[in-house]
């Protein structure tokens, strides 16, 4: 339990450090900012206008309409089409000059003709060189189709005596939220909860690489402590800080009105996830010669780790595949959904957490035990892997 002494002092120093307090305040600010952004985003989705990530099609293409009886013009989509009511001759000139994409010509007295079962022709002239022609064509087709359906319904209804017309029994049942909205909400809360795990990488780097850069590693190794005491003591301190940070974030989210089902279980899963992340960070820190190298390594590895957390969670939403459970984020998302989770469901994520943690901490300790990692000259990665595999035996006493 000697490593606990290191943990105690690392914690004491970190929690009393002005730099750490500043980081915590900034992170808290980030959480508040993200929550506001998140609320705005959800608000926009839930509003009638909705939110569109595609570019606006407002008045995208222009169309001239020759329609004395307002047969078609009222049904055209004014959002997409810039509609002008002009006479036929004038429109032809505009079409030739490229000032409009198309002309639509409605026949005289179309309703009367329909009622007397005559065929009516609607002429559409399109500038085939205009790339917007397909949009116009689609819009006109949709309009005519809608118009045709409306006229047919009207005619059918006119054949039925009014007393026999009954309104269909339509019962709107709202069950939960709109699916994409549910996914976005759960995903965003999950991301907010897992975010603190990636905010403390620099502290691990500072704690381990700092010993090399400041050359204090020598005196710490000279202490009556094993290499594993040093690595575990330092990393445990960071995990405890993450535990504190995650607890604060969950409480803040709950106070802010976010719905987190079973927060204690979620907290435990997030905290357990921090162990392999800190383990992998520790491997990078132990291997790195300096801060710069560690930060480059950390950026690359964190991208992979974020992918490892998020991609299976997304895969689970779409396929419900059991293998997606490898990511603890999937488990958290399932808890958010109120799914009944059995003990078996915990096996895969817990096993993956355990394995990655064991391998990463073992590697980190093995690396730290090597003289060349602390005092140099550092061997290349292939040499280290070969040593680990025992291809050319090197003693780690």
């Amino acid at each position: 339990m000697r490593f606990l002494k290191i943990t105690k002092w690392e914690l004491k120093n970190t929690l009393s450090s002005k730099k750490f307090i500043t980081i915590i305040i900034l992170q808290f600010g980030l959480l508040i900012l993200m929550m506001s952004f998140f609320n705005m985003f959800i608000g926009s989705i839930e509003s009638e206008d909705g939110i569109s990530l595609s570019p606006s099609l407002s008045k995208f293409a222009s169309i001239d309409v020759s329609d004395n009886n307002s047969f078609i013009i009222t049904n055209l989509n004014k959002e997409v089409l810039d509609i002008r009511l002009v006479d036929y001759n004038n429109s032809l000139k505009r079409l030739r000059d490229g000032k409009t994409t198309a002309i639509i010509v409605s026949p005289e007295n179309p309703r009367e003709k329909i009622e007397s079962f005559q065929t009516i022709n609607i002429d559409l002239y399109i500038n085939s060189e205009d790339p917007k022609q397909s949009v116009v064509l689609n819009e006109v087709n949709s309009t005519l189709e809608a118009l045709s359906t409306s006229i047919s319904d009207e005619w059918i209804n006119s054949l039925i005596p009014p007393e026999k017309i009954v309104d269909p029994e339509v019962k709107e049942e709202k069950k939960g939220e709109f699916l994409p909205l549910q996914i976005i909400k759960k995903m965003m809360i999950a991301i907010l909860l897992f975010l603190p795990l990636f905010l403390f990488g620099n502290m691990v780097v500072d704690s381990i690489v700092g010993e090399k850069e400041r050359k204090t590693g020598e005196i710490i190794i000279a202490m009556p402590l094993s290499h594993s005491d040093i690595i575990m003591g330092k990393n445990l301190a960071i995990i405890l800080i993450i535990a504190l940070q995650t607890a604060i974030w969950i409480i803040t989210l709950l106070i802010a009105g976010f719905n987190i089902k079973n927060p204690q279980l979620v907290y435990l899963i997030v905290l357990l996830t921090s162990v392999p992340i800190i383990g992998i960070t520790s491997v990078i820190a132990t291997y790195s010669k300096n801060y710069k190298e560690a930060e480059i390594g950390l950026s690359l590895v964190y991208i992979i780790m974020v992918g490892f957390l998020i991609i299976p969670a997304l895969a689970y939403i779409s396929t419900r595949s059991l293998s997606s459970n490898i990511s603890p984020m999937t488990l958290v998302m399932r808890i958010f959904s109120g799914e009944a989770i059995s003990g078996v469901d915990f096996i895969i994520p817990i096993f993956s957490i355990l394995m990655v943690s064991l391998i990463s901490f073992w590697t980190s300790i093995k690396l730290f035990k090597r003289d060349d990692m602390v005092f140099g000259p550092r061997p290349n990665l292939i040499r280290i892997i070969m040593d680990f595999l025992g291809i050319k035996k090197r003693e780690f006493k």
Binding site: R2, K5, I6, K8, W9, N13, S17, R214, K215, T216, E218, I219, I221, A222, M223, P224, L225, S226, D371, D372, F375, G376, P377, E395, K397
Partner: protein
């Protein structure tokens, strides 16, 4: 107390220690001198359990550094060459931190800290942060740190390197006070420091002990040598002719300083005749540890 047997260590292709054998007795102050890259720091890092040897072993008070590194480490107080300390700490907190890690009982720790702060003359800087200290003050607090657990063995690696004469003198004073009470290994570049402080001196070069003994013994080994230090007016001297004299072992002309090493006094008058009026002054010099050192690493 400390027995080093057949110690070898490689750094890549560099052979830092080559089957080093050394014994250090209880209560002794052993000096290790040697040129840069001789293997001094590597040897003491292995004794302290910081580095692992490629072969050989170090046994401290019956405990092998390979088999019982924690036990060995707990018996040693180590002052590295650079007093790299945790900048964020206040002096007192630094000592408390190391005291706890060394397992100093809590009841004794405060007293021990006060004692050490007084010993290194830093009782009024106890609440100051390390990053406000000069190199001399850092070295003082580093010495206190190395002594926090009252170790049986203390290893100093270049303790006065880069310090002003007054601080160096004070540090030598601390070491002198510990002499006899503790087993001390002093690694130094300063020959006068080794000469004054050490009971025995080991001369290390190429990862091996080239010579070892008390300073007096080592000096006596080359006592036959008489060194003439002659100041001359110009370099118009026939050094080859001087060298051809049977008792002359070496002739070094450095600017207007001529140094001649002789095995006997008989031919001094011949030498003076050869130099003639070119001579300004002449001195005979007793061999120093520096001469022994130069002689050993030749």
């Amino acid at each position: 107390m400390i027995k080093i047997s057949s110690l070898s260590k490689y750094f890549g292709k560099i052979h830092a220690l080559d089957n080093l054998d050394l014994e250090i007795n209880k209560g002794e102050l052993l000096g290790i001198i040697g040129p840069n890259g001789a293997g001094k720091t590597t040897a003491i890092r292995i004794i302290c359990g910081i580095l692992k040897p490629d072969s050989g072993d170090v046994v401290v008070n019956g405990y092998s550094v390979l088999k019982d590194p924690i036990m060995v480490k707990s018996m040693i107080g180590y002052l590295p060459e650079e007093p790299n300390l945790y900048e964020r700490f206040k002096a007192r907190d630094l000592l408390r931190y190391f005291g706890e890690l060394y397992g100093v009982p809590k009841d004794n720790l405060n007293n021990r800290i006060n004692e050490l702060l007084e010993l290194v003359g830093m009782e009024n800087r106890a609440e100051h942060r390390i990053n406000t200290f000069s190199k001399g003050l850092r070295q003082r607090i580093a010495i206190a740190r190395a002594l926090i657990h009252d170790p049986q063995i203390i290893i100093f690696d270049e303790p006065t390197m880069g310090l002003d004469p007054a601080t160096s003198l004070a540090i030598r004073g601390f070491i002198e006070n510990l002499k006899g009470e503790k087993t001390i290994v002093l690694c130094t570049h300063y020959m006068d420091e080794a000469d004054t402080l050490c009971d025995r001196v080991a001369i290390l070069n190429g990862g091996k002990v080239r010579d070892m003994g008390t300073p007096e013994y080592l000096k006596a080994k080359i006592h036959g040598d008489i060194i003439l230090e002659i100041k001359i007016q110009n370099q118009n001297i026939d050094t080859e002719k001087i060298h051809s004299l049977s008792s002359v072992e070496s002739v070094n002309l450095n600017g207007k300083n001529l140094s001649i090493s002789l095995s006997s006094k008989q031919e001094i008058s011949d030498i003076l005749r050869l130099i003639g009026n070119n001579m300004i002054s002449i001195n005979t010099k007793e061999p120093s540890l520096e001469d022994v050192f130069i002689h050993s690493i030749k």
